[in-house]
Amino acid sequence: MAPPAQSQRSQSPSQPSGKSEVSDLKLQLRQLAGSRAPGVDDSKRELFKKVISYMTIGIDVSSLFGEMVMCSATSDIVLKKMCYLYVGNYAKVNPDLALLTINFLQRDCHDQDPMIRGLALRSLCSLRVANLVEYLVGPLGSGLKDSNSYVRMVAVIGVLKLYHISASTCVDADFPSTLKHLLLNDSDTQVVANCLSALQEIWSAEASTSEEASREREALINKPVIYYLLNRIKEFSEWAQCLVLELVTKYVPSESSEIFDIMNLLEDRLQHANGAVVLATVKVFLQLTLSMTDVHQQVYERIKAPLLTLVSSGSPEQSYAVLSHLHLLVMRAPYVFSSDYKHFYCQYNEPSYVKRLKLEMLTAVANESNTYEIVTELCEYAANVDIPIARESIRAVGKIALQQYDVNAIVDRLLQFLEMEKDYVTAEALVLVKDLLRKYPQWSHDCIAVVGNISSKNVQEPKAKAALIWMLGEYSQDMQDAPYILESLVENWDEEHSAEVRLHLLTAVMKCFFKRPPETQSALGAALAAGVADFHQDVHDRALFYYRILRYNVSVAERVVNPPKQAVSVFADTQSSEIKDRIFDEFNSLSVLYQKPSYMFTDKEHRGSLEFADELGNLSIGEAADNVVSSQRVEENDKDLLLTTTEKEETRGSSNNGSAYNVPYDSSTSVFASQTQIESAISNPTTAGHSQQASFGIDDLLGLGMPAVPNVPSPPQLKLNTKAALDPSTFQQKWRQLPIALSQELSLSPQAVAALTAPQALLRHMQSHSIHCIASGGQSPNFKFFFFAQKYEESSNYLVECIINTSSGKAQVKIKADDQSTSQAFSTLFESALSKFGTP
C-alpha cells in the first residue's frame, strides 16, 4: 500500500500541494469516463500517470476512486495495469467503492488472454478487504487449475493473500491441500516454489493452534519432498533455489551416505554468482555435517574460496553481507583461516563497519606463525585518519597480546604507541598495558619504565586515566614518583569529573600508602577527606570504608585492599557460547549481521520459518526420547571445542579439499556408533534414576527411616551413584557456571593406550565405574570426553573434561564439582578408574 494518506512531509515547491490538482483530475477523468472518441485511451493514460505519480509522492488521491473505476472499462492493457495498481493501493481505505471493482476484475479473470487473467486475479487478491473474500474463492479455485502457468503462479500467491485476509475462508476452501498437490505435481518450478513459500507461511501460522498443521509443516521436511525438490534444483530460478536450500537445512538425513549424496549434488551451487545461493548452500553443508567432525572441517576448507570470491566481487553492500558470515565462521574456527589473514587486511576506502569486522577477524586468526605480520599491519592502522578505527586497531593489538603465549614483540609495539604522542593512541595503549600487566605481571619492569614517563596531564579520557592510576598504585614501589603524582591528582580532586577515576584514585593511594607510608600519608589523608565529602555515593562509601578499616587495623586493611594477586589467565568473553551457537544455527539470516539471535530483534510472529532451534531447545527436558535429540545437540554445540583438539590432524588430512566427500566409511560409522552409545548411556539411566529418586522421596515423607544408610558415618571413600542421570543441557549449564575445582595431567598405561582405538571403548569402561559419558569425539591420537558422575544418594554432580592424547600417553583432566570439598576424593576415584582401563 503506498504512501501515507496524509503526508506529514512538507511539500517542496516543485511538488503539487494536492487539493486543487486532485479536483482538477477528478473533473477530467469524469469527462473521459463515458467517451468512446478515438485517442481517448491516450488521454486516459496521461491522466492515470498523473494520478499514480501523485500517489507515489504521497498525495492522497483516494477521492478519485469512483472516477478511476469508471474509466477502467477499456481493452488497453497499459491502462488496465495502472488502474489495477491504483485500486490495489486504495481499496482498503475505500471498502465500499472496492465493491465496484469486483465486477470488472471477475470478468477479467475469465479473459481469453492468460496475462489478463493473471493480472486480474492478482489485483482481486490484493484488495485486502475482508468482506469481499467471498468473491475470491471462485476465481482462485479456477486459477489454481488454469492451464497457463503464469495464472497458476499468481493464484498460489493469491491463496496466501487470502489466508492473510481471512484464514478461515482459505482453510475451509481446502486450498492448502490443493497447494500441497501442486507442490509435488506442477510442471512449472515457479508454481512449485510459490507453493512452498505459501505452505510454509500458512502452516507455520496455523501450527500454533492446530496440531495437524504442525504435522503438515514437518511433513514438508520429509525425504520424498526433499528429494523431489533437490533433484529438480537446477530448474528452479536462483531465488527459488534459495528457498529449497533453506528447507533442506532442516532435513535430518537418516544415514551418512545421504549426507554425501546431497553434498555432491549441491557441490556446483558453491560456484554460483548469486551470493544468496552460495550462502544457502553453505548452510546446508554446515548443518548436515555438524555431527561429523572431520567432514565438517573439510566443509570449512571447501567454502573458504567461494566466500572470499563473493566478498571481493559484487557491490560493497553484497560483500558486507557475505563478509559478516565469513566473520562468524572465522570466529568459530579461526585456525582454519589462519593462513588467509591477508584477506582480512583493511582497505583505506572501506566503510568503518567493514573495517570493524575485519579487525575482529584479524584478531581471531592470529597465531604463532602470523602474529608478527598481523600486528605490524594493525600498527599501520593506529595512525589511521579514521580515529575510531585507529582505536580499535590498538585494542586489537592488545587482544592479540592477551591471547598469545609469546608477547615479547607485541609489548614493544604497545610501548611504542605510548610514545606516539597522539592523545587517543596513548589513552588506548594505557588501558591495554594495564590489562597486559594483569595477565603477565612479569612484564611490569619494562612497561612501568615507559608508563612512568607519561605525564598524567596528557591523559584525559577516564578509562585511560583510571588505568594509569591503577598502575601507579599497583607498582608504586617501582615508580619513583608515584606518591607525588598521586598527590597532585588528589589535589585536583574537584576537577576530576569521572567517578570511576576517583574510585581508582582512592584505591591507588591506599595501595601506595601500604608500600611507601611516609611519602603517601598526607596524600592519603587528603584523598580520604575528599572522598568522604564526595557527592557520588560509591566514592563516598568507599572512602568511608577505607577510613574505618584503617582505623580498625592497618594490616587488615592491607590484606583487604592490596592482597597478593593471581595473574588473570583468561578474560571473560562477552558473548556466551549459547548465544553464539544460536547465531550459528541461524546462519544466512539477519542474526549473523546483527550478531544477535533472532529472538532479540524480531517479534514472535515474524520470526518465520527459520526458527527451528526454538523447538529443539524446548525438547531438552523430559522423557528419554527427547534426551536423545538434545544429547546430539550437545555434541553439535561442542563441535568447535572438539575441533580444536583434533585440529592438527585435520588440517593435515584435509588438504584434499576436492569435490568429493567420500570419507573413509569406517570413520563415519564410528561417529555414529559413538552417538548411539551415548544415547543408550543416557536414556536408560534417566528413567531408572527417576523412579529411584521418587521412591526415596516417599519413604522420607512417611518417616519410616530407611535401613540406616544416612546414619552410618560417611566413609572416607566417595561412593558414586551407579545410575546417575543428568540431561545434557544441565550439563552444559553447570559446566559454564562452575569453576574448575581440579586440573591435572595423568599418564596412561601402554595397555590403556592400546585399548583406546575408538572413544566408545573408554566409555564402557568408565561406565562400569559409575562415571558416565555425556559427549565424546575425536580420532586417534586425540580424543575428548565429557563425563559426569553423581554422589550416591545425593544430587551432587561431578563434571569432567578429559582430553587424551594416545601418542604421548597423557590425559588432561579438568574436574568441576557442585560440592568442591569432595572433588579431591572424586579425582582419586576417577584416576583409579582410568588407570584400570585396558587391563583385562
Binding site: 499514480i52 496475462m115 572470499l308 571481493s312 553492500e317 539470516s589
Partner: protein, 451 residues
C-alpha cells in the same frame, strides 16, 4: 520475503514506492532516510546497508546515487535481499537504458509494471529481463545519455561509490532503434579492479585482482555463444591459499584463486579447452567473476618523500611512474594523501610544461589532491608540495601523514593477462556477422603506498 520496496532520491523523495504486504507502519521511507542521513552524530560514519529500527529491518544499496530500499519484519537472508535489490536495479536499467533519477521519473509507470512482476506479496517471482518482456507493455521514454551531467571519459564504467563497473551501453532492451531495425551486436567487457598495498620501503604487501567478464547481448534469436579463455588458465592455488609470490610470476600461466559463473554458463568443455558455452539471456549480466592473488606487475609505481624543511615547514615529493606500454593511456588519475593534522598551508609546484594536471589542498580534512587527466605509459610525473605547520611536530612526521592512495582507469589493459581468445556465435547463416565488442579495462580498487 520482503514487505516494501522503494527508491529514494538523494534528497529523500520517493521515486517509486511499492508496499507488498502492508506489515510495516507508514512513514518507513522517512524513517529510513533520516536514519541514513544522521547515522552517527559526526557524520563520519556511513550507515551499514542493513539496520533495524523498531523491529523493521531496512536493507539498501546505492546505485547511481539513488537508494534502493527493501523493508521486512522477518529474519530473512540478508544476501538474498541485497542481491535482489541489485538485480532489480539492473533489470530497470536494462529497460530504461540509462539509470538516473530523471529516467526513473519519466518511466515510473513502466517501473511499477516491472516491480509487480518481479515481486508478488514479497516473494521473488522472476528477475529475468527476458521473461519480463512479455509482461511489460509500457514503452520506455529514453533519456538521452548525453544530456546527463558531463561525465569524465572513465565515468561510463563507473557506478556507485565502489566504481562498480557497468558498460557503456545505454540502450534499452525493449526500445526500438530510430531506424526500426535492431543492430545485431554483443558486448563482452573484461573489467578488473586491482588492489595493491606497497610498504614504506616499496615492497608489495598485498595484491589482488577482482575481475568480472560482463556481457550484454543484443542478438536476436538467442544463439549459443562460446567464449574461449587462455588455454593455460588454471583455477585454485595448489597447497592452500597462502600468498605465494614469485613462484609463478613470468611463467605465463594465469592462475585464478577462485571463480564463479552465471547460471546460464555451461562448463562441459571448460576443463578441456577453457571454453565457456552459454545462451546469453537479454540484458547485462556477469558471465564470470574471478579472484586472483598471483603476483602481477602493478601499473603504477609510487614514490613519496616527506621531509622537514626548516621551522614549521616540510616538503613533500610525490612521483608517479606508469609501468605499462606507451600505446596505453590511463585516465582520470587521482592521487590523494592525508597530510599532518596541523598543516595550515600547502603550495604546489608541478613539473614545467605539465598539462591537464590540477592540485588542491583540502583544508577541511587536511588532504593533498593531485588530479591528472591522463598518464601515457612509460611516463613519470612529479609533484612538489611545500607545507606550513601551525605547531612544532614532535615525533616522526612520516608517521603522521599518508598513506598515498590512487584511483585510475586504464582502458584496454588488464593486469591479470586473462583474455577472451575468441567469441564464437553459433548461427547457421554464413552472412550473419554481428558486431562483437571485446573490451578490457582496469581500475584501482584500493591502490595504496605507505610512507
Amino acid at each position: 520475503m520482503i514487505s516494501q520496496f522503494f527508491v529514494l532520491s538523494q534528497r529523500g523523495d520517493n521515486i517509486v514506492f511499492r508496499d507488498y504486504r502492508g506489515e510495516v507502519p507508514k512513514g518507513s521511507a522517512e524513517i529510513f532516510f533520516r536514519k541514513v542521513k544522521f547515522w552517527k552524530q559526526d557524520g563520519q560514519e556511513e550507515a551499514p546497508p542493513i539496520f533495524n529500527v523498531d523491529g523493521v529491518n531496512y536493507f539498501h544499496v546505492k546505485v547511481v546515487g539513488l537508494f534502493f530500499v527493501a523493508t521486512t519484519r522477518v529474519n530473512v537472508s540478508p544476501s538474498l535481499v541485497l542481491e535482489l535489490l541489485q538485480r532489480v536495479a539492473r533489470v530497470i536499467k536494462d529497460y530504461l537504458g540509462v539509470l538516473s533519477e530523471d529516467s526513473f521519473r519519466k518511466n515510473f509507470v513502466l517501473v511499477y509494471e516491472l516491480l509487480d512482476e518481479v515481486i508478488d506479496f514479497g516473494y521473488v517471482q522472476t528477475t529475468s529481463t527476458e521473461v519480463l518482456k512479455s509482461y511489460v507493455f509500457n514503452e520506455p521514454i529514453v533519456v538521452d545519455a548525453a544530456r546527463l551531467q558531463p561525465l569524465g571519459p572513465a565515468a561510463i564504467f563507473m557506478q556507485g561509490n565502489k566504481r562498480m563497473p557497468g558498460t557503456a551501453i545505454t540502450k534499452s532492451v525493449v526500445a526500438n532503434e530510430p531506424g526500426g531495425r535492431k543492430r545485431e551486436e554483443i558486448f563482452v567487457d573484461i573489467i578488473e579492479k586491482i588492489s595493491v598495498t606497497f610498504s614504506s620501503s616499496g615492497y608489495i604487501l598485498t595484491s589482488e585482482i577482482d575481475g568480472t567478464i560482463q556481457m550484454k547481448s543484443y542478438l536476436t534469436g538467442n544463439p549459443e555463444i562460446r567464449l574461449a579463455l587462455n588455454e593455460d588458465l588454471s583455477i585454485g592455488r595448489g597447497g592452500g591459499s597462502v600468498y605465494d609470490y614469485g613462484s609463478s610470476y613470468g611463467a605465463g600461466a594465469v592462475i585464478l584463486d577462485d571463480c564463479n559463473f552465471h547460471e546460464s554458463v555451461r562448463l562441459d568443455s571448460f576443463d578441456m579447452d577453457r571454453t565457456l558455452a552459454l545462451v546469453p539471456p537479454d540484458g547485462e549480466f556477469p558471465v564470470m567473476n574471478y579472484r586472483m592473488t598471483q603476483e602481477f606487475k602493478p601499473p603504477f609505481h609510487i614514490n613519496c618523500l616527506i621531509e622537514e624543511a626548516g621551522h614549521l615547514k616540510a616538503e613533500v615529493v610525490l612521483k608517479i611512474r606508469a609501468e605499462f606500454p606507451s600505446n596505453i593511456t590511463a585516465n582520470t588519475v587521482v592521487v590523494e594523501m592525508p597530510l599532518l593534522k596541523y598543516t595550515i598551508r600547502a603550495s604546489f609546484e608541478l613539473e614545467p610544461g605539465a598539462v591537464g594536471q590540477r592540485t588542491d589542498f583540502k583544508e577541511a580534512n587536511k588532504k593533498l589532491e593531485w588530479d591528472l587527466k591522463k598518464i601515457v605509459g612509460g611516463f613519470e610525473h612529479t609533484l612538489r608540495a611545500k607545507l606550513t605547520f601551525s605547531q612544532e611536530s614532535h615525533g616522526n612526521i612520516t608517521k603522521e601523514a599518508g598513506p598515498v592512495s590512487m584511483t585510475f582507469t586504464i582502458p584496454m589493459y588488464n593486469a591479470s593477462r586473462l583474455q577472451v581468445k575468441y567469441l564464437q556465435i553459433a548461427k547457421k547463416s554464413s552472412s550473419y556477422n554481428p558486431y562483437r565488442w571485446v573490451r578490457y579495462v582496469t581500475q584501482a580498487n584500493s591502490y595504496v603506498a605507505r610512507i
